[in-house]
Amino acid sequence: MPTTAPAPGLADVTASDSTLRRFLHGLPGVDAVGLEARAASLGTRSIKTTAKAYALDLAISMVDLTTLEGADTPGKVRALGAKAVHPDPTDRTAPTTAAVCVYPDMVAVAKEAVAGSGVKVASVATAFPAGRASLAVKLADVREAVAAGADEVDMVIDRGAFLAGNYMKVYDEIVAVKEACGTSARLKVIFETGELSTYDNIRRASWLGMLAGADFIKTSTGKVAVNATPANTLLMLEAVRDFRAQTGVQVGVKPAGGIRTAKDAIKFLVLVNETAGEDWLDNHWFRFGASSLLNDLLMQRQKLATGRYSGPDYVTVD
């Protein structure tokens, strides 16, 4: 398989603004037509019976069950936590989800709701979703989330600075946030791919995020028109594969927003397997940022178990 990795010697690319820019602009351009065609052709795989059962359970275990609304109440977060711990109350063999994802002020509530279950609590931070705040405010946001017990922090990059070509500013911010996360919280870096305009920019952002120490790279906030697509996720999977080949450091990927059906989720899992490889088929390295997806996964799971089509009356209303 042709590699899209740059030449070795990554240590000095972040030495200055100009070396970073030279490196990012030196990344090979993305063949947009080829990328979309490959993502579409991998989406045509037929996954049935036992493979489907495996894929559904794996997908459930990878869901970051998310509620990021202005109207979130402690009650709603507790309900979400209960659902994350027991996704299908009628079938205790259903795996737990990977995490619940909430705003920083709800972390403590979420933490209590999932205590002892192994479900992690992720918190968005850094002035999510716009990211338009000073670094001091962003870092305070992160520290508050970590102090409240967040196991994972989802930060947004400064898209304005990125699009203006001010890569070093974006890099420094990620490094600072990573430091604020300390050793206890894993850092997910959200690019908001829908605002980056081009595939080339997504590839550059992926490398920038990984160079700055991201544990996960994440497509989007779910708050804009274009969210995770198979093509941009495939592109990011190529980036993490090449990054590990070059540096030995494995980075996770999280597509978020717009993935609503079990069928779509399974297509993403095929992309993961065929691009990054089996090592990423684990909720430590791949996640779905979603809320309504879980219900469809559960209905499909019930269909496989009972042989009859399930309906929305048999899963929770969120």
Binding site: G307, R308, Y309, S310
Partner: protein, 296 residues
């Protein structure tokens, strides 16, 4: 240049969610007239087509059941108007399907159009007939009103391909239910053509979904489907009806068993309208009791 024109064959397709898809399975089967002459290929639906149709019907249910009864009546009447305009086509299709003469087929089609009009009139009257105020021993207004059951799977009659079809579909949607209809297995063409009329009659997409194929194959997943609220077994034979009723018991579906019907030409009465209705009863306080003990 010769006068002979190449014949333009019609591709019969399903009607699901307001669109005309082919079967997801890509299969078709041959439809013949009563003498065995080939008429057309019809889609041979799979259980996935049935599932997609249920999703479409569920999606349409909120808006259709929430529409005013008056509005539903107007739309049902509009369907009758559109059928009238394509009367000749239906006469030809019914004559082919059932082996009738043109004049006998015309009677069938006329009766079917009249039946749409008849049910259109019922939409805003059924509540007065089956609902009402109940006398109760207390200071309450106690009111019962009928509400649609939900998504109804309809097995259309096998023999009467058009009048029978209309007689089972119209009452289901008149009261605000949405329907997944399995056309007559042997003669599905009038039902598939009905989709074309429904699509141009202001009927929201998904309120009626028409599938063609093997009745037993499509009905089984519908009877077991947890998101289907009722099933009309008009087109099932005795053995199939029994099997489907057992499957339907799992989520307590309403089941309308096959009724003995001669030729569907008799005035139907309200049985089919009321078969797929639920009754909602509301207790409303009449207000504070006066000194005399009366609240009126």
């Amino acid at each position: 240049m010769s006068d002979a024109r190449l014949s333009v064959f019609k591709t019969y397709k399903l009607y699901v969610g307001g669109k005309f898809p082919r079967s997801e399975s890509g299969r078709v089967y041959e439809v013949t007239d009563s003498k065995g002459k080939w008429l057309a290929n019809a889609p041979l639906s799979s259980r996935k087509d049935a599932r997609d149709a249920v999703v479409a019907a569920r999606k349409a249910f909120g808006a259709w059941s929430g529409a005013t009864a008056y509005n539903r009546g107007q739309i049902l009447y509009r369907i009758a108007e559109m059928l009238e305009g394509r009367r000749d086509q239906y006469v030809a299709e019914v004559a082919d399907a059932e082996g009738l003469s043109k004049s006998k087929a015309s009677l069938q089609v006329d009766a079917a159009i009249d039946r749409w009009v008849w049910y259109a009139g019922w939409t805003d009257k059924i509540a007065q007939v089956v609902g009402g105020g109940n006398p109760v021993a207390g200071p309450f207004f106690n009111l019962s009103s009928p509400e649609p059951t939900g998504v109804v799977a309809v097995l259309a009659p096998q023999e009467s391909s058009f009048l029978g079809l209309v007689s089972v579909v119209a009452p289901v949607i008149a009261t605000g239910n949405t329907a997944v209809v399995i056309a007559s297995e042997k003669s599905p063409l009038p039902a598939l053509s009905l989709g074309e009329v429904l699509a141009t009659s202001d009927l929201p997409g998904g309120v009626v979904n028409v599938l063609s194929g093997r009745t037993a194959e499509i009905a089984a997943p519908l009877a077991a489907h947890q998101d289907v609220n009722a099933i009309d077994l008009a087109g099932a034979d005795e053995a199939l009806a029994k099997e489907l009723e057992i499957a339907a018991a799992d989520n307590l579906k309403r089941v309308l068993r096959p009724q003995p019907v001669d030729d569907w030409s008799a005035t139907p009465g309200t049985e089919r309208l009321t078969a797929f209705l639920e009754t909602k009863t509301v207790w409303h306080p009449t207000g504070s009791l006066g000194a005399s003990g009366s609240s009126y």
